[in-house]
Amino acid sequence: MMGKRLDVRKTHKLFIGGRFPRSESGRTFRWEAPDRAATANICRASRKDFRDAVTEARGASASWAGRTAYNRAQILYRCAEILEGRRAQFREELRAQGTSAAAARKEVASAIDLLIYYAGWADKYGQLFSRVNPVAAPYFNFTVLEATGVVAVVAPSESGLLGLLAALAPVITGGNTCVALAAQDYPLCAVSLAETLHTADLPAGVVNLLTGFRAELLEPFATHMDVNALVYFGDDRAEIAQAESCAAENVKRVTVCGRAEWEGTPALNPYAILRTQETKTTWHPIRF
């Protein structure tokens, strides 16, 4: 007699340094589908997980920024290829988290196209925003963009996939590495996204994904002295005030983003990349 086959349930892990560890704290939190059909134990990242992730991000930073823009573009394009191949899995997870079938299809397509969009900027934004400046002296003077380094990203709380990608794609397109905190209530796609990026040969440490509670992680995100910038998605005044105040400790660059920065076509633009770029101007004499 053939019974219903028992499925093997997924363990939802963190993504740190190209590996999938559990939280060093051993803690998890319970996620439940709106229709209560499914549940999962999601890792509840600790401040130590964040610390370890920053170490990995810093370790990967020089070589990621040192790659040619073309190489970064190729890797991002490959991420899109892999995500395209896993459409069904992501749609299913979005639906489990309460999105309608039509909305899920649209969101996954948008997510893939977002990756393609930023892949296409990797070797071009520099052309747009770099300059040769006609100074009033015999010097060749040029301004170029440089990745700011390690970026902490607090992803939108209201979107499990598109919002997360919109938050981190411009960051890594620009040559930064990052540690991102996924939406607390929509954690499933974050884990699958980590698996996707890993499969696409994104170098270890470039993206580190944590699931957990914003309330407890915001402070380490904002105070860590080896993080160069913080990109925060949300509109909670108290959180923003806390983040900006903490960031002052090492003069982190803080960008506060809202829905307009992740939802819809206007969210796709090269200024998103500028959020995490420095500019460097060099002078060199012109003479025999």
Binding site: A73, Q74, I116, W121, K124, P270, P285, I286, R287
Partner: protein
């Protein structure tokens, strides 16, 4: 001063065994047809021309020769595709089509490299390591611009022109096709491409790739043929824009043909670039740069560093090292992975090069040629150096388009800049010096579209390429490469 035998002996007991790249996996068709409106069909006349392998003189395949009716059909298909599908498509989708082409070139890279080498004579190592990867990169680069044109030109919205006619040469067949197709498509145009008569085969594979990538029929059309086909295409009334890479003589012919027509055109023509070595250059690396500048691709490069200027105080050393380095250049079977200098593209071109070498000798130039042996069949030319020549010699003034270098010495920097600019051409130039300030000054004073400092013949899809003066106008690569394919409109209400 007679050329003295090099101090080092490179004719060693240990020599390299043949290392042929297998061509077994490359399945050539007997006949290739025109690619019009998404279909492969023979020319209406039924005419074919032969494409031969310049290394063996054997026929590789026949390709259709497009006549007036075929060119008409191709332009009509491009127009229809522009109006009905390509210009209406969401720009992000256009971009994804172009990404597909890029990816498929990468997937068929080995096959394309071997075919390119067999069809044109260039070494397989160059086709494999430079031509094919760069071609894919051009498509990748421009694919990303398709949905970002609003950012490319501040204060202006960029609209496509319509139908582009594109004519390319035989020295970098697939790469030139990429340089033409990628920006045109990204900007929203449709096109008709005419590959060079002696090198049509990789364009035929590109046609297959375009079709497999699912581009709507008529967006890309490829018509093979000779000069006649090119002329028909250029003069076609329903073409909005012409892009031509080839000789300055034909470029001028095209300008005259288009005069008064209102059609946009860009021309990438010949060159006679000055490659300048200062005494404070890193000499050994500069010598390597000279080799790359003139012997790479058998000298069939419009931007070749064909006029060498060496500062007199280091001239003896540079020339001696140059001669020694020429001795280690391997001339031979393009499909051998160790070949540095392949076959000359055609009998015609070989005869032209021979004629110039004769002229140079008659003009009193002193010839040095490396001691390599040449195969019996096929078209070959030994790497050649002319010294004791000056700006007044024809071999210094005229583009030879072969592995022939003219060497002059100079004393001061203003002298060499004046001489570097003393030419109707203005495509490229090279400067070798360890002093940064000198680089910025010299590159500023040389009138050429591309200047290489401490390197030569470097290309990138993001780096604009094109000439001043009689080397043409318009740029390919970078944002500048989009300009020739768009109409810029000011926003309303200004």
């Amino acid at each position: 001063m007679p050329a003295k035998k090099p101090a080092l002996d490179f004719d060693t007991e240990w020599s390299y065994s043949p290392a042929p790249q297998s061509s077994a996996d490359v399945k050539l068709r007997e006949r290739y047809k025109l690619f019009i409106d998404g279909e492969f069909r023979p020319a209406e006349s039924g005419d074919y021309i032969e494409s031969i392998n310049p290394a063996t003189e054997e026929t590789l395949a026949q390709v259709s020769e497009a006549g007036a009716a075929d060119v008409d059909r191709a332009v009509a298909a491009a127009r229809e595709a522009y109006t009905r599908s390509w210009s209406r498509m969401p720009t992000a989708e256009r971009g994804k089509f172009i990404f597909r082409i890029a990816r498929m070139i990468q997937e068929r890279a080995r096959e394309l490299a071997v075919m390119e080498s067999m069809d044109g004579g260039k070494p397989i190592r160059e086709a494999r390591d430079i031509d094919i990867p760069l071609a894919a990169a051009h498509f990748f680069y421009y694919a990303g611009w398709a949905d970002k044109l609003d950012y490319a030109f501040p204060g202006r919205s960029a609209q496509p022109l319509g139908v582009a006619a594109q004519i390319i040469p035989w020295n970098f067949p697939l790469l030139m096709a990429a340089w033409k197709l990628a920006p045109a498509l990204a900007a929203g145009n449709t096109l008709v491409l005419k590959p060079a008569e002696t090198t049509p085969l990789t364009a035929m594979v590109l046609a297959e790739i375009v079709r497999e990538a699912g581009l709507p029929p008529g967006v890309v059309n490829i018509v093979t043929g000779g000069g006649k086909t090119g002329r028909l295409l250029v003069r076609h009334p329903d073409v909005d824009k012409i892009a031509f890479t080839g000789s300055t003589a034909v470029g001028k012919e095209i300008m005259r043909a288009l005069a008064g027509s209102g059609k946009r055109y860009t021309l990438e023509l010949g060159g006679k670039a000055a490659n300048i070595i200062f005494a404070d250059a890193a000499i050994d690396q500069a010598v390597e740069g000279i080799i790359t500048a003139i012997f790479y691709n058998q000298g069939h490069v419009c931007c070749a560093g064909s006029r060498l200027f060496v500062q007199e105080s280091v001239a003896a050393e540079v020339i001696e090292k140059l001669r020694e380095r020429m001795e280690t250049l391997i001339v031979g079977d393009p499909l051998d992975k160790n070949t540095d200098v392949g076959a000359i593209n055609s009998r015609d071109q070989l005869e032209r090069i021979h004629a110039y070498v004769e002229i140079g000798k008659q003009e009193g130039g002193e010839v040095y040629q490396s001691s390599c042996s040449l195969p019996e069949k096929g078209f070959w030319h030994v790497p050649t150096l002319f010294s004791n020549v000056s700006q007044s010699h024809r071999v210094v003034q005229e583009e030879i388009f072969g592995p022939v270098l003219a060497v002059q010495t100079f004393r001061t920097v203003d002298e060499v800049i004046a001489k570097a600019n003393n030419t109707p051409y203005g495509l490229s130039g090279g400067v070798w010096t360890d002093k940064g300030a000198k680089i910025f000054k010299v590159t500023r004073d040389i009138r050429a579209g591309v200047i290489w400092a401490n390197t030569f013949n470097k290309f990138d899809p993001g780096s604009p390429f094109g000439g001043y003066k009689e080397s043409g106008m318009g740029r390919e690569g970078g944002i500048e490469g989009l300009l020739p394919y768009v109409r810029l409109r000011a926003p309303r209400g200004r």
